[in-house]
Amino acid sequence: MKRFLYGLILAFVVASMWSCGSSPLEKAVKQALVQQDTTQARFDSICSIIKTYPERYKDYLNEAGEVDVPALAKLIEQVGGQLRPPMYWDVTRYGLQQLSLTIYFERSGSMVPYDAPGGRGQLKKVVNDLINYFPSTGNVTINIVNDGIYPYQGTIDQFLQDRNIYASTQGVGNAAFTDFQKIFNDILKAQRPGNVSVLVTDLIYSPADTRDVSVEKIFNEENSLATRIFKQYEGKSILVHQFMGDYQGKYYPYNNHPFDYRGQRPFYVLVIADSKVMDAMAADAAYASFMTPTSVRNSYRFNQAESMVDYCVVPDWKDNAGRFRVDHRDASRLTKCEGDKTTGVMCFSVAANLNGLQKPAAFLAEAANYQLRSISDFKLKVQPIEQSMITGNNRAYLEGKTHLLTLTGKLTEPRDEIVISLANEFPAWIEQSTAQSDTNPNASGFSTTTLGLKEFLGGIASAFGTGGSYTTIKLKLER
């Protein structure tokens, strides 16, 4: 009899271990996800478990004995995928501490008036902010660019405190023209893994000797040049920020008849990095100020791959109408769907974290920017998630998410698939900020447009391929 009782106990122990006997590492990951404690501190505590048992968790350590973040990310994805709803934790950003920043400060003739002593110095402020908000401030280098790339001779502190950067860098290179081909090629060639390059420029293509050359010819040349350069660097991603700054001084139009101009002019910051680095920076709150400077007017990221977003159907929400059941194995599948008994309308909400898409809040909150496909003609409403909407019971669904996508419609077929996508289109602001001529300072739009901007940025877009979506969410509905 004893033997059988021991057998019984053993069977229970085996069954218990089989079901919930995950390792301390898996338990720690699961706990962090369930408690929504996806912070750097929690990540560090998980890393300390790995380092405490290096033999047991050798698969999560690299050759240098450091935590292999991608391997740990896979484990987190696996554990999170088993939860309800599946939970995600993008930890790749924690491997970013060693990023370096290289500033390329354009010093062509038409850039100097942006930092005239009488102006408000917006351009210099933006560059200073980029340096200050880059988390690894120790890894910053500055170069001056025009006909080539020249290292800045001072220290970072001297650069930050310099009230007239163009005066102190006078004589560096040839300010008469900007060789985009050389500059971009040099930047992209010099870029090592983990490096973030920032080019501060007016994005005016000014090759040497454009006298008597038609503007269309310059545009075509510019467009082809951009495509040719960037086609060679497929894994790169470019974030273009547009700013406005005071301009006081000589302006050099394409016809080589300079004139004095006092007023506002746009200037640009191009952040160039490997796509993976860009994705990780976008997902990391520590890089938020660096990635989205406060005074930015417009932004667009080139070569932004379609991203997976963390989303889940909120089972219990005030707007819900009718009935449905979220499949436990597939969070995107809703079964037993039924419309409201009185109206026949079914309404449910999907909570999604759209932070990683790096789009402005207004763009994400506008339902017109989303494309919706379904047989049953569902309608979409988008609402940003506010802290006050989160309660104890819905915390697991809403916390860490940024937007509620509410779908309303009558399910007309036994099965339907709702496809929500956020289209990645060439932004309208680029066209609106493009001038076909810059010879007349009194022309309307001179203060807000840049010669050939669309042609140059269009060339980059052609190199990387345009279209597609920033993200797509597919939901399967079954009666």
Binding site: F12, A15, S16, W18, S19, L83, R84, H328, G392, N393
Partner: protein
């Protein structure tokens, strides 16, 4: 020891282990509600509550057949009293554990927790029957309870 009795014991153990392996399906096939069931799953309560239910059922059966094990308590209604204790004890302990863990996580699902424990009453009763028919054969005084064989 009769071979047939040993078969009963093995079947009982296998049935209980299978119940534990398929505990989520066992509970959710009867009661599953969005939100609450997900939290039970995430917080590991589908591991703990069935384990409590199994332990209560088997321990109470063990107490009846081997600790009480008296001719004074060998009638079917004595066994029924033990069953009543099981169907009270298992859901009460389960509910207390459920409430505590939910409280710690700031969750309030009182109505759902009570409904879930009604399902647990059913499984506790089934498990007590399984445990009784697995171990009664070696009881010196109660092996005829609840149904003489």
């Amino acid at each position: 020891m009769k071979k047939q009795h040993l078969v009963y014991l093995i079947i009982g153990i296998v049935a209980t282990v299978l119940f534990y392996i398929f505990r989520v399906e066992a509970y959710e096939s009867i009661y599953s509600v969005a939100g609450y069931s997900d939290q039970l799953y995430n917080l590991g309560l589908y591991d703990i509550i069935p384990l409590i239910t199994i332990a209560v059922a088997w321990v109470m059966a063990g107490i009846y057949y081997y600790a009480i094990n008296s001719v004074r308590f060998d009638r079917w209604y004595h066994w029924l009293v033990m069953l009543a204790l099981v169907v009270v004890l298992a859901p009460v302990v389960g509910y207390l554990v459920n409430s505590r863990i939910f409280d710690e996580n700031g969750l309030t699902y009182v109505a759902e927790s009570l409904t879930f424990e009604l399902v647990n009453i059913m499984w506790a009763a089934v498990l007590f029957v399984v445990a009784s028919f697995s171990m009664r054969w070696w009881s010196t005084n109660c092996h005829h309870t609840p149904i003489p064989q």
